[in-house]
C-alpha cells in the first residue's frame, strides 16, 4: 500500500520551510535585541539589515552593492561546500577556517611576491588548502585524532604562519597587504564582462559563477558518482562501509583534501578580486570558515541549498553595515547577524518539529 505524499511532506519542501522558519525566528530575536538596546530605532534597524543593498534608491546603486554581496558570498559558499562535503563522510571540518586562511596566504603571496597570474595563484590556494586538509585527514585516519581538535589547532597555526608570510608583502604604511590590483593586475580574476552587469562593480569576477558551478559539481559528485556513494556510505555507517571493503582511511583523507581545497579556493575567490586585503596583525581566525557551518546547515546539507543559504547569510552580514551607528554600537550589527546565523543551525530541529506537527494533524483527521 503506497501513500501519495502531500506537497508539504516532500523532503526538500520541508527543508526550505524549516530554513525560512529559522530565518524568521532569527530576525525576530534580532529585532528584540535591538528593541532592548534602543526601542526608537529598532524597526528601522532590522529593516536595514534585511534590505542590505536595497537601501539605495537607484537601481544601478542597488546592482552595484548586490555585486559586493555576491563577491563575499562566493568564498562563503566555498567554505560551506567544504564543510558540507566532509559532513557527508561523517567528518566535521571545523578546520575549514584554517584551510581558508592558508589558501589566502598562498594566493596573496604568489600574487604579490612572485607576480604570478591569477590562475597559478588560484591553483596554489587550492593545493595549499588541500594540504592543510590532508594534515587533518592523516591524523584522523592513522592516529584517530579527532578532526575537530586537530582542525582547530591547525586553524591557529595557519593564521600565524600566514601573518608571518604576508608581512613580507605588507603595505609599508598600514597593517594590510599591498593591493593586488596595483601591484599585479594579472592576479585579479577576469570579469569577462560580469562587472558591467553590476554597474561596473570591478570586484565581480568569474569567481561568482565559478563558485555556483562548483556547488553543482559537488552535488553531482555526491549523488551521482561511485566516490559519492562511498563517501555517503562511510558517513552513514562507517562499519558497513568497511564491511563492503571500502578503503576508509583513503576516503577520510581524500574527503578532507577536497574539503581543504574547496576552502582554499574560496579564499582565492575573495582575495584575487582585490575586494579586501589581508591584515597581518589580525589575531582571530576569519569568520568565513565558521559562517560556512551555518550556511551548510541552513542549506539543509545540500550543495544546491547551500548556494542560496550562503547568499542569504552574506546578505544579512552585509546588511549589518547599514545599521545606524549613531543609535547602535558598531558591534551590534555583528551581534544581530550572529544571532540569525546561530538560529540557522536549528534547521534540523525545526524539520523535526514540522514533521511532528504534520503527523499530529494527520492523526486528528483520520
Amino acid at each position: 500500500m503506497r501513500e501519495r505524499k502531500s506537497f508539504i511532506e516532500l523532503p526538500f519542501v520541508q527543508s526550505i520551510l524549516a530554513a525560512l522558519l529559522c530565518i524568521l525566528l532569527g530576525l525576530l530575536i534580532g529585532f528584540l535585541v535591538l528593541l532592548a538596546i534602543n526601542p526608537a530605532g529598532a524597526g528601522e534597524g532590522i529593516m536595514a539589515i534585511v534590505k542590505n543593498f536595497l537601501t539605495y534608491p537607484s537601481v544601478p546603486a542597488q546592482l552595484k552593492y548586490l555585486g559586493n554581496t555576491l563577491v563575499k558570498a562566493s568564498p562563503l559558499l566555498m567554505c560551506a561546500l567544504s564543510i558540507n562535503f566532509c559532513y557527508k563522510t561523517g567528518l566535521f571540518n571545523i578546520g575549514c577556517a584554517g584551510q581558508y586562511v592558508v589558501g589566502a596566504g598562498a594566493c596573496l603571496y604568489a600574487a604579490l611576491a612572485f607576480k604570478m597570474p591569477w590562475i597559478v595563484c588560484l591553483l596554489l590556494a587550492v593545493v595549499v588548502g588541500g594540504l592543510w586538509g590532508c594534515a587533518v585527514g592523516l591524523l584522523k585516519a592513522y592516529a584517530n585524532v579527532n578532526e575537530v581538535i586537530s582542525g582547530i589547532m591547525l586553524n591557529w597555526i595557519g593564521l600565524y604562519l600566514v601573518n608571518m608570510l604576508l608581512s613580507l608583502v605588507k603595505d609599508s604604511a598600514s597593517p594590510y597587504t599591498q593591493k593586488v590590483a596595483s601591484v599585479n593586475q594579472g592576479a585579479i580574476m577576469p570579469s569577462l564582462g560580469l562587472s558591467n552587469l553590476f554597474s561596473n562593480n570591478k570586484y565581480v569576477t568569474i569567481a561568482v559563477p565559478l563558485a555556483i558551478l562548483i556547488a553543482i559539481l559537488i552535488w553531482v559528485v555526491l549523488n551521482k558518482t561511485k566516490f559519492g556513494y562511498e563517501v555517503q556510505a562511510t558517513g552513514f555507517n562507517k562499519e558497513a562501509a568497511r564491511y563492503a571493503g571500502m578503503n576508509e582511511k583513503r576516503n577520510i583523507i581524500l574527503t578532507l583534501v577536497i574539503g581543504g581545497a574547496l576552502a582554499g579556493a574560496g579564499a582565492a575567490f575573495l582575495y584575487l578580486t582585490g575586494y579586501e586585503e589581508w591584515s597581518v596583525t589580525q589575531s582571530s581566525v576569519p569568520a568565513m570558515g565558521f559562517n560556512g557551518i551555518a550556511a551548510t546547515f541552513l542549506g539543509a546539507l545540500n550543495p544546491i541549498g547551500t548556494i542560496f543559504s550562503s547568499f542569504f547569510i552574506q546578505h544579512i552580514t552585509s546588511g549589518g553595515a547599514y545599521l545606524d551607528k549613531s543609535v547602535y554600537p558598531s558591534q551590534i550589527a555583528d551581534l544581530i547577524t550572529s544571532i540569525i546565523i546561530y538560529l540557522c543551525g536549528f534547521v534540523l530541529f525545526f524539520k523535526l518539529a514540522l514533521n511532528k506537527s504534520i503527523s499530529k494533524r494527520k492523526e486528528k483527521k483520520s
Partner: protein
C-alpha cells in the same frame, strides 16, 4: 489491547489488532518477521503511540505515553538485549531507578531482603552481590526478571527470551515462567520457536502481515497448525537434504588466533579446520565464545594475531576485505552494524558489495542508476523482499526479516566460492528460516562451501553436515549431526565435554 492500528510510511504495521491477556496465563505472540509483534509490544510498553485503538487494563482504558507509564501500570519487559549495567552487582541493577534511600543514602539491606524473598518465591536463584559481567547470560536474564518483579509488575513481556540461552537454561526459564504464571503474573511471550510455545504457553495469538489471525488454546493445537496460521501455508519444519558430497578444500584455517577487544586474552585461540566445496560446516557455540571475532578475522575486519588462512589455494591471511570478497560472501552477524547502510535506499544496499562493478557504473565514475534499479528489482522479486516502496524504500523503515532477506539476496547473488553465514536466521520466523535454510543447502548443492555460524541448536542440527563446537575461543569438538544429540551438543557448548580438533 483493542483494535490497535499503527501506521508506518508505506506499511500498516498493526492493522486492527485485538489481544486479551488473562490474569495468570502465559500468552504467546507468534508471527512472521514484519508481522508486527515488536510494534505491538512497543505500543503496549509506551515506545510507540497507536494511531487507533485503545488499551485497557482491568477493564479501564489507560493511556501509555512512555515506558514510565507502562511501569506505573505494572507492565514490565525483558528485552532481547538486556539492559543491565555491566559493572554493577545484580542487586544494584535491580534497584536501579527505584532505590530506597534515607537522607540520600542507599538502603541496600532492605532492598536485598525484598530481592531474596522474591527469588525464593519464584525459584530465581541468583547471587545478589555478583557483578553482571561475571555471571552467565541465563543469570543476567534472571536479573532482568527480578527487576520486573521488584517493581511489582503484573504483566511481564518476554521478547524472544530463549535466543541467547543454552538448552539447559531454556528448560530452567520455562519452569520459571510457569511458576510466575502460577503466582498470578500474566506473561506475554514473544517467540518464533514453536516447540517452546507448545511447551509453556496457555494460549497463542498469531499475527500475519500486521493483521490479527486468531487466538488458539495450546492444548487444542499443534506445531503444524501454528506454523500454518503464521505463514499462511504449510511449512516444512525439517529441511530435506541429500547427504553432502564434499569436494576439494575451499577454506583452510591454520592456527588462527584473534585478539579480543573486550579483554586482554585472545578471543580466538589457535583454531584450525578445513571447509570443502559442497559441504555445510557449522560453528556452534553459545554467544560470546569467540565466534564473532573468528568471523571478523576470517573476513578481514580484524587482523590475525597469528595463523594463516587459505581460500581457494590463495593465501588471504593479509588480504584486504575487498580482495577477499571476490571469493567470499559474508552474511554478517549484525545487520545494522555491518550489513546495511540503513539510511540508504534498498537498491543502494543491494549493490553495497558490487557498486564498483563496471556493470553498475557508467564511464567508470558515475553510478548507473538504471542498472542498479533493474538489478535491485530482480533481487527483490527473486528473494521476495517486502518493503513499503520497493527499490527506493529507505532501508531503515523495513522490518528486520526483510532487511535480512535483502542481505542474503545480495550475498548469495554475488560471485563467491565460500559463503560465511553468521546467524542468518536470527530473529526470523519459520517461513523465512525455511527459505534461508533451503538457500544454504542449494548453495551447497551447487558446489559452494558454506560456513554457518549459529547459536540455534535446531538450525545447527538440521542444516549442517559437520559441526564444530567453539568454547571460549577454542574448538572443543567435532560432531556429526546424524549421530549426535541436542543434549550432547549442549554439553560441548557449555564446556562440560571436550576433545581435540585438528584440521
Amino acid at each position: 489491547m483493542l483494535h490497535i492500528t499503527k501506521l508506518f510510511p508505506g506499511i500498516v504495521a498493526n492493522d486492527d489488532i485485538t489481544l486479551q491477556l488473562r490474569r495468570g496465563e502465559i500468552h504467546a505472540l507468534l508471527g512472521e518477521n514484519g508481522a508486527g509483534k515488536s510494534t505491538l509490544m512497543s505500543v503496549l510498553f509506551g515506545l510507540y503511540q497507536a494511531e487507533k485503538g485503545e488499551i485497557r487494563k482491568d477493564g479501564k482504558p489507560v493511556k501509555i505515553m512512555n515506558p514510565n507509564d507502562a511501569n506505573d501500570l505494572g507492565i514490565g519487559m525483558v528485552h532481547q538485549h538486556f539492559k543491565l549495567v555491566q559493572c554493577f552487582t545484580v542487586l544494584e541493577n535491580i534497584i536501579l531507578g527505584v532505590e530506597t534511600t534515607k537522607g540520600g543514602f542507599l538502603q541496600k539491606d532492605e532492598a536485598k531482603k525484598k530481592v531474596m524473598a522474591l527469588s525464593d518465591k519464584y525459584g530465581l536463584s541468583v547471587n545478589p552481590d555478583a557483578k553482571i559481567e561475571d555471571i552467565t547470560v541465563g543469570m543476567q536474564q534472571r536479573t532482568e526478571i527480578l527487576k520486573m518483579l521488584y517493581r511489582d509488575n503484573e504483566i511481564l513481556i518476554f521478547d524472544e527470551p530463549t535466543a541467547v540461552l543454552t538448552p539447559q537454561e531454556i528448560e530452567e526459564l520455562m519452569a520459571i515462567m510457569k511458576n510466575l504464571a502460577k503466582e498470578g503474573k500474566s506473561i506475554l511471550f514473544i517467540s518464533h520457536k514453536l516447540n517452546e510455545i507448545m511447551e509453556v504457553a496457555d494460549r497463542c495469538s498469531v499475527l500475519r502481515r500486521g493483521k490479527y489471525i486468531g487466538t488458539v488454546d495450546i492444548k487444542d493445537t499443534n506445531e503444524q497448525d501454528l506454523s500454518r496460521m503464521m505463514v499462511g501455508r504449510d511449512v516444512k519444519l525439517v529441511v530435506d537434504k541429500e547427504p553432502a558430497k564434499p569436494g576439494k578444500p575451499i577454506l583452510q584455517v591454520q592456527g588462527m588466533t584473534v585478539a579480543s577487544k573486550a579483554h586482554s586474552n585472545n578471543a580466538v585461540k589457535n583454531v584450525s579446520f578445513t571447509v570443502r566445496e559442497g559441504e555445510i560446516v557449522c560453528i556452534a557455540g553459545i554467544d560470546g565464545n569467540g565466534q564473532t571475532e573468528f568471523v571478523y578475522g576470517l573476513t578481514g575486519l580484524e587482523p590475525l594475531v597469528s595463523g594463516s588462512l587459505t581460500l581457494c589455494g590463495q593465501d588471504i591471511t593479509k588480504s584486504s576485505i575487498r580482495s577477499r570478497s571476490k571469493l567470499l560472501s559474508h552474511i554478517p552477524e549484525d545487520r545494522h552494524k555491518h550489513g546495511l547502510v540503513l539510511d540508504y535506499s534498498l537498491e543502494y544496499n543491494m549493490v553495497l558489495q558490487r557498486y564498483y562493478d563496471p556493470k553498475f557504473l557508467s564511464g567508470g565514475v558515475f553510478l548507473n542508476r538504471k542498472a542498479i534499479r533493474e538489478y535491485s528489482n530482480r533481487l527483490i522479486q527473486e528473494f521476495d523482499v517486502r518493503s513499503g516502496e520497493g527499490s527506493v524504500t529507505i532501508t531503515r523503515s523495513m522490518s528486520g526479516g526483510n532487511q535480512q532477506k535483502a542481505i542474503i539476496a545480495r550475498e548469495i547473488d554475488k560471485d563467491h566460492q565460500l559463503l560465511v553465514a553468521v546467524q542468518p536466521t536470527r530473529g526470523l520466523d519459520v517461513g523465512a528460516i525455511e527459505y534461508i535454510h533451503k538457500a544454504l543447502i542449494k548453495e551447497r548443492d551447487e558446489g559452494k562451501a558454506v560456513l554457518l555460524v549459529s547459536l540455534e541448536l535446531e538450525e545447527v542440527m538440521n542444516v549442517s553436515d559437520r559441526i564444530l563446537v567453539m568454547y571460549e575461543g577454542e574448538l572443543v569438538g567435532e560432531l556429526d549431526p546424524k549421530t549426535t544429540t541436542t543434549e550432547e551438543l549442549g554439553l560441548y557448548m557449555a564446556g562440560a565435554k571436550r576433545e581435540e580438533v585438528r584440521a
